[in-house]
């Protein structure tokens, strides 16, 4: 039994390697199928990793009261554009009135150029934040410290910089704290450097940023019209409850009547997760579609080549049966040939994927998992079985006399 099984497998292997070119062409469909299925998998893995590494900085217990929602979908942009602005006093008022909120901080952003001696860091995302954000912001500080309440209230010229900015401005300096840099020509003292947070889809670095006290930013650059209020939910408070409370208070601040629609947005990390979920779903749908199609084509290709193989070896099948090969022995022999073709195709697909992932990783986060490898191999074995079973069972049922006469 094992002898015969072993013999069948060996014959299957030989049959594939005797027709390398043909087998390779046949594998093409499987290769493409496995390639797209595993690329899809790596992309989804990659998105998950991005989320875990970088989006966590928003903190999942923080609400952001803003004029625009993070994801507008198909809604009318002008409707959001024409909303009243978020005002500075909201932060204080929400913090006072909402029992579910422990800290509230203002935030505003603008693009600036930072420079230290001859080094320039352009397009830096500078945000002015209230001192409370030290307790709200989830970003870690690598060296130095956050600014204090006093530094905020007295509009001190202090600044914290992101790791990307640090690399550009201070390529050779271990600890830049205490040094002075220029923001649009004005001098600021560096008091801290944020830990590296990575890139979102590799496209923009969230480390190309800097933070200074809100009041400092306001005093230097004037009032900003785009304000955002960050709210830290008190520990142990239900998120939904906090959201409703903040919403009610903000509606009160806006003087909205019961039937009026909200004219502000309360954003939270979950919205980001939902949006990523949608991206993941559409990648999966496209990936599964393409791979199903190419696996189908590949499977038909294998079936076709197996019919050819059975035809070519009709005489051999006849001889083997005459010498005492039972049906299952012949069946297994051809089934293995199909499985081997599909499996090698799958492995080539995986190999190409890992090569591509290596290249793509420079622009886009992607990562391969062991589960993916097994899934891909499982799928290709499945395709091999499905496309090999009909030709193989046809071969096993050949009449030995007829088959031996075949030339």
């Amino acid at each position: 039994m094992f002898n015969q099984l072993y013999e069948s497998i060996v014959i299957g292997f030989k049959a594939v390697f005797q027709n390398k070119g043909r087998a390779l062409l046949t594998m093409l469909g499987i290769i493409i199928g496995i390639l797209s299925v595993s690329l899809m998998g790596t992309a989804i893995n990659g998105i998950d990793n991005v989320f875990n590494q970088t989006l966590g900085m928003f903190g999942d217990d923080v609400l952001y009261v803003q004029q625009f929602p993070w994801f507008m979908g198909n809604a009318n942009w002008w409707e959001f554009r024409n909303r009243p602005q978020i005002r500075e006093e909201y932060s204080k008022k929400i913090a006072e009135r909402a029992s579910s909120i422990s800290y509230a901080s203002l935030e505003t952003n603008r693009r600036v150029t930072l420079s230290y001696k001859e080094n320039n860091s352009e397009g830096v995302d500078l945000s002015g934040r209230g001192w409370q954000s030290a307790y709200i912001d989830a970003a870690k500080i690598e060296c130095g410290r956050y600014f204090t309440q006093l530094e905020d209230q007295s509009a001190s010229r202090v600044i914290l910089i992101g790791s990307e900015v640090n690399k550009i401005l201070f390529p050779n300096i271990e600890d830049p704290c205490g040094l002075s840099i220029k923001v649009n020509g004005l001098k600021f003292r560096v008091i801290g450097v944020f830990a590296e947070q990575g890139k979102i889809f590799g496209m923009f670095s969230i480390d190309n940023m800097a933070v200074m006290p809100f009041q400092t930013l306001k005093s230097v650059f004037g009032r900003s019209q785009w304000l955002s209020v960050s709210l830290k939910i008190r520990e142990g408070v239900d998120k939904e409850y906090a959201l409703e409370e903040v919403r009610a208070i903000t509606r009160g601040l806006r003087g909205l009547r019961p039937l009026d629609k909200d004219n502000f947005a309360i954003n939270q990390q979950e919205a980001m997760e939902d949006e990523l979920g949608k991206i993941k779903t559409s990648i999966a749908a496209v990936g599964i579609g393409i791979s199903a199609l190419s696996l189908l084509v590949g499977g038909i290709g294998i079936m076709n080549i197996m019919f050819v193989s059975v035809k070519e070896r009709t005489k051999e099948i006849g001889i083997r049966k005459a010498l005492g090969a039972k049906r299952w022995v012949i069946l297994i022999q051809f089934l293995f040939e199909a499985i081997i073709i599909a499996m090698i195709g799958g492995m080539i697909g995986l190999g190409l994927t890992s090569l591509l992932v290596g290249v793509v990783n420079k622009f886009f986060v992607a990562s391969m998992s062991l589960g993916l490898v097994f899934t891909a191999l499982g799928v290709s074995i499945g395709v091999g079985i499905l496309s090999g079973i009909i030709p193989a069972s046809q071969a096993s049922k050949l009449d030995p006399i007829e088959a031996m006469r075949f030339e």
Binding site: N3, I319, A325, M404
Partner: protein, 235 residues
Amino acid sequence: MSLLKLQNIHRVYQIGDIEVRALNGVDVNVDRNEYVSIMGPSGSGKSTLMNIIGCLDTPTKGGYELDGMVIHQEVKDGIGIASDDQLAVIRNQKIGFIFQTFNLLPRMTALHNVELPLIYGGVPRVERLERAKAVLEQVQLSDRMHHKPNELSGGQRQRVAVARALVNNPSIILADEPTGNLDSKTSHDIMDLIDNLHKKGNTIILVTHEYDIAERASRVIHMLDGKIHEDNKKK
């Protein structure tokens, strides 16, 4: 007791609407260690008879017993025949084939070709190699056993086939025009080899249309129109 017992064997082929009666009631008994040759013009049914004896084909009517085993049996209103896989086992265990066209597997060495029946018989590897080498030695091909069929002469190929037929110690050796593809000198050698197998105690059935070859056997059966026309035993 007979080694092989054929009773009232009929074989009808259906080709489209036409019925071809290849065998039309054949009764033969062959004893152990007999040397039988079957002769007859083409279409006389000798190949069909060989195929049925060799368990490659099944009769439409009649009974067949081989080495004490009932393979096909006439029952009320029909015939009970062995299944494909059962026939495969019988072919493997009881029958050694020698074909006119050798029927060796071209991509395998002589040794592997000879091993094949043992593989299907489930013989372990070490014993398999030993036995295959022993029969190759018996046909004087020890020095060619790692060659593939296309590296061997016609006579050598047929000797590999003879070795393959012997390797399972079959009850009966069936040779279907074994010299049909060989020149006269080589034919002679192969026939001497087959005669020798008979002398060693094997039972042999040989299909041929050459008188001088048929004459080597101790019993000559003439077939005509699907029936046995003559059955001559030499004293």
